[in-house]
């Protein structure tokens, strides 16, 4: 068959290219009411809310404020609690007398249509008694700072320390020590579809039915059941087509609780669709960190250690524990040998939108700081950047590699397999490194400034605890796969059909994958952290092998042979030695089900060709990558042109290289935005200044270069198909690579890049600022 590894075009596309998709806002139910959320206009204030005018408007059904919610639905639960977060704080579902960021939900208008609800929202009177807003990440930890949460002694949400070896003694004997202060600014996922929820009470089944755009419908099922005081069987969560996820849709938001509560209380279907302004100000952000790190090396550039401290801005609340800064802290060593490591992270509350994972999730920051430090070492010691990296990369023979500390999932962080030196070699080969270096040098003499950047990364992917899959061979011999990890565009319906088709010996288009409905399998974790392909994909292979075994066993009875003599091919059980002797899968199903009223003909196999299977990976598998870029910068205008962008990835075995390439290029696109444009900006009082796509810029077709991709594979030993996750590898190294390339291009001007994103104007300032050749305070 050979579906595994094929560049199969997607089963999803026919509906989507003809306008027949079904997204959350396309769902309408009879008698459906519409919700508009009234949001805080102040970053930190005590509030009093008067909704009487809004309630009086024709067409308004109800207005909800905090006191209208049941006790269990007032505070958003942390769905991923982690003891490392010592001072967690969750947001109120509707603000209860106090708001802590601009955009925080205060009231919910329910009206006959969206237009009336918007009118009524204007009539809600909120009095703000403002308090000092905590905006500056570093000042937030000073004694004088106001506090985001008055009940806490400071704005510190938690301290994390990650260490191995003895960093201080390594630094004491180092030949070279470089120190950097590096800033990564706040961006956002900004899927093209905003968030939305539709909910109604199903009277026939006596339960709450919720459609939303979540990456984690089972997590939502638990949260909604708790909020409504229902057992989980009385909550069904479904995902229609979802218009992009990018991590930040992997959390439970206040509206995910609010909308079902309103539907239950009013006993009416309700819909809430977020608008783009709300999405920009109130859907979770990520990336703000300030690092003060040092790297110590020997004379030949061998890394002896990394030490220092970084500050992580978690915004006003901690919706997903400490996962982002924890991922940064454990990912800083990257694919390099770092024998001594001691990094402290301060997780800090500010009066800004809460922070949660956005594609990359703490790793782009880690890659950026490590690669910037390596570039500094290279300059100090006069070592070629490629040679310096090669000297420090963990070699293929050293895998599995014990990094020396505990990972995000509580296990000893161990890179399962990899060969990053080979990725680097391949990237250099594609770039034609030596000749390109010579070209850059020659062009520089002609006043043209080109530069090369290189960065390598690891990504912990495919994390546990499990995924469950149900699978059936239908009466017509086709196959149905049921699973819990929903799609936000990753093409699960294609990839997993490929896995099942190969094992069951049926054509690709005979496999139908169902997802996005908590009734399909009993338990699931969700689609995030590059895990669905690895964990669900493995469960698909296990379930398919179970069905194959059963089909061959039944086939053996019918063909009077032993199961070992049989295989599945072209929708049939065939005798390997003589393929003319075969039985259709449809016949196998028919036999396994028997005839109505009669005993099962083959009771040993149970009725039907249906099974469930789950896969629980022992720990993460680590994807790796090496990216390289060639850029040209015009020093007069500071326009940066990315002439070439090369991504060499190791995602283990690939189910569908076409889909994986799409993931890589899309990831690079976000990385380009993170490098040049994407920045959520707050003023000193906490007003967000980037509330439209005119202010919050993302990469367009004019900005993203053509990405040259290659894949080398070191299959993971941790799952049956040897896979590694591919969802974020495209994004992680981009800010590091491009910063390095731009700095290299502008080397004659002594430009020193210490912050992302940097705009062309930032670069222009940097180039013309004689006092400080850095983008340190890029605004």
């Amino acid at each position: 068959m050979g579906q595994f590894g094929k560049r199969q075009v997607r089963a999803e596309d026919d509906r989507l290219i003809t306008g027949r998709g079904c997204y959350i806002d396309d769902i309408t139910l009879p008698n459906m009411a519409h919700i508009v959320v009234v949001r805080s206009q102040a970053a930190h204030a005590r509030i009093t809310v008067d909704t009487s005018d809004a309630r009086a408007l024709d067409g308004v059904i109800a207005v909800f404020t905090a006191e209208d919610l049941p006790e269990a639905a007032r505070i958003l639960p942390d769905c991923h609690p982690n003891p490392a977060l010592t001072n967690p704080r969750g947001p109120s579902v509707l603000a209860n007398g106090l708001v802590r960021y601009v955009g925080e939900p205060i009231a919910a208008i329910v009206a006959e249509n969206r237009y009336i609800a918007e009118d009524a929202a204007e009539l809600v009177q909120v009095d703000y008694e403002t308090e000092a807003a905590v905006i500056d990440l570093e000042k937030a930890l000073t004694k004088q700072s106001a506090r985001v949460h008055e009940d806490l002694p400071s704005n510190l949400a938690a301290l994390i320390n990650i260490a191995t070896g003895n960093a201080d003694s390594a630094f004491a004997k180092a030949h070279c020590v470089v120190k950097e202060r590096l800033e990564i600014q706040r961006g956002a996922g900004q899927a093209m579809e905003t968030r939305g929820v539709v909910a109604h009470w199903n009277r026939f089944e006596d339960r709450m039915v919720v459609w939303n755009v979540s990456q984690v419908p089972y997590v939502h099922r638990t949260a909604i059941a708790n909020a409504l005081g229902l057992p989980e069987r009385q909550v069904q969560v479904q995902n229609p087509d979802v218009g992009g996820g990018f991590g930040y849709k992997g959390l439970t938001y206040t509206e995910d609780i609010l909308v079902p509560v309103v539907a239950r209380q009013l006993d009416r279907p309700v819909k809430w669709i977020e608008d783009r302004r709300e999405h920009l100000i109130a859907s979770y952000h990520e990336r703000t960190q300030i690092h003060e790190l040092e790297m110590a090396t020997t004379e030949d550039g061998t890394i002896l250690g990394i030490r220092g401290r970084f500050y992580h801005d978690t915004g006003a609340y901690t919706p997903w524990g400490p996962v982002v800064p924890l991922l940064t802290a454990v990912n800083i060593p990257g694919p390099y040998r770092v024998p001594n490591y001691a990094v402290q992270c301060d997780i800090v509350y500010t009066n800004t939108t809460p922070v949660a994972p956005v594609r990359g999730a703490g790793r782009p920051q880690a890659c950026y700081v490590t690669e910037r430090l390596l570039d500094r070492v290279g300059k100090e010691l006069g070592i070629d950047p490629a040679a310096l990296r090669k000297r420090n990369l963990i070699t293929a023979e050293e895998y599995p590699y014990d990094v020396g500390f505990i990972s995000r999932d509580g296990t000893r962080r161990t890179y399962d397999s990899g060969n990053v030196p080979a990725l680097l070699d391949r990237a250099l080969e594609i770039l034609d490194y030596d000749n390109t270096l010579a070209d850059c040098a020659k062009l520089r003499t002609e006043g043209r400034y080109r530069g090369i950047g290189i960065a390598c990364c690891v990504e912990d992917t495919g994390l546990g605890p499990f995924e469950e899959v149900g699978m059936s061979i239908e009466a017509d011999g086709s196959v149905t796969v049921r699973m819990g990890t929903p799609s936000q565009g990753q093409g699960q319906k294609t990839s997993f059909a490929q896995v099942a088709a190969d094992i069951l010996g049926v054509p690709f288009d005979k496999v139908k994958v169902l997802t996005g409905n908590t009734d399909l399998v009993r338990y699931s974790i969700g689609t995030f952290a590059s895990r669905a392909g690895v964990v669900t994909g493995s469960a698909v292979s296990i379930a398919a092998n179970q069905l194959k075994e059963r089909a061959c066993a039944i086939g053996a009875v019918l063909l009077q042979t032993s199961p070992e003599e049989l295989d599945l091919k072209d929708g049939k059980v065939v005798l390997k030695a003589d393929e003319t002797r075969s039985i259709d899968l449809a016949q196998i199903v028919h036999t396994s089900l028997g005839e109505s009223g009669n005993p099962l003909p083959l009771p040993d196999f149970g009725p039907g060709m249906s099974t469930t299977a789950s896969f629980s990976p022992p720990t993460n598998t680590f994807a790796t990558g090496c990216h390289a870029a060639l850029v040209e910068v015009d020093p007069a205008t500071c326009k940066v042109e990315i002439l070439r962008y090369i991504a060499v990835e190791d995602f283990g075995n690939l189910i569908n290289p076409l889909i994986v390439d799409g993931q890589v290029i899309g990831g690079v696109s976000l990385g380009v935005g993170n490098t040049f444009f994407e920045k959520a900006v707050y003023d000193s009082e906490g007003q967000i200044l980037t509330g439209t796509f005119m202010d919050y810029l993302v990469a367009t077709s004019m900005d993203v270069p053509r990405v040259e991709i290659d894949h080398l594979s070191t299959p993971s030993p941790l799952n049956p198909l040897g896979m590694k996750g591919a969802g974020q590898g495209g994004t992680i190294p981009v800010p590091a690579v491009i910063s390095s390339a731009v700095e290299n291009a502008l080397e004659p001007f002594g430009v020193h890049l210490c912050a992302v994103p940097f705009s062309e104007s930032d670069l222009f300032q940097n180039l013309r600022n004689d006092d400080s050749k850095s983008t340190r305070k890029s605004a």
Binding site: V9, E12, Y115, Q190, G489, G662, V707
Partner: protein, 169 residues
């Protein structure tokens, strides 16, 4: 506050079919298409004209249906993504999007398809630069644009060869 009750009668042709409707003066074309006509292929991405997901053509010109009022459309001909494919199946641009994996989540896709189809009516043999320029008003967060650009260039080639075949026969 303005009284929202002002209504107006319009006659509008969408994908070749004419509709007469009484609409609220402030109703957007996007809401009209999606909710009143049930043509939900047109998606709303930003409601401020920046993302291009809601792009349709009005009398052959590209327009943002989120910034256009239905009441302005009296007598106009609209084409949405649902109107791209004909009796002979998919429009070449739709087929090329599938073939080149030019969509992932599919949410921005209708706007890209409508824009690209309009471009190919005007420019039969575009360069990559022209394609990127035409598409620069549409945001995609999934694909990084590369496969979209490839799809448009490939559709242009298909359409040129179809034209040549027609001319030859």
């Amino acid at each position: 506050m303005n009284t929202p009750s002002k209504r107006t009668q319009i006659s509008i042709t969408v994908n070749g079919k004419t509709y007469s409707r009484d609409v609220e003066a402030r109703r957007t074309l996007a809401d009209f298409l999606r909710e009143d006509l049930g043509l939900t292929g047109t998606h709303i991405g930003c409601e401020h004209g920046a993302c291009g997901a809601c792009t349709v053509t009005v009398d052959g010109m590209l327009a943002r249906s989120c910034l256009t009022l239905a009441s302005q459309m009296d007598g106009c001909e609209i084409r949405t993504v649902e109107g791209l494919s004909g009796p002979n199946g998919l429009h070449p641009i739709q087929a090329a999007f599938k073939e080149h994996h030019a969509l992932q989540c599919g949410y921005c896709t209708p706007g890209f398809l409508v824009t690209a189809a309009a471009m190919l009516e005007e420019t039969q043999d575009p360069t990559e630069g022209q394609v990127r320029d035409w598409l620069s008003g549409n945001i995609c967060r999934c694909t990084g644009y590369q496969f979209i650009v490839d799809a448009v260039l490939s559709a242009a080639e298909t359409m040129r060869s179809e034209t040549e075949e027609r001319d030859a026969s």
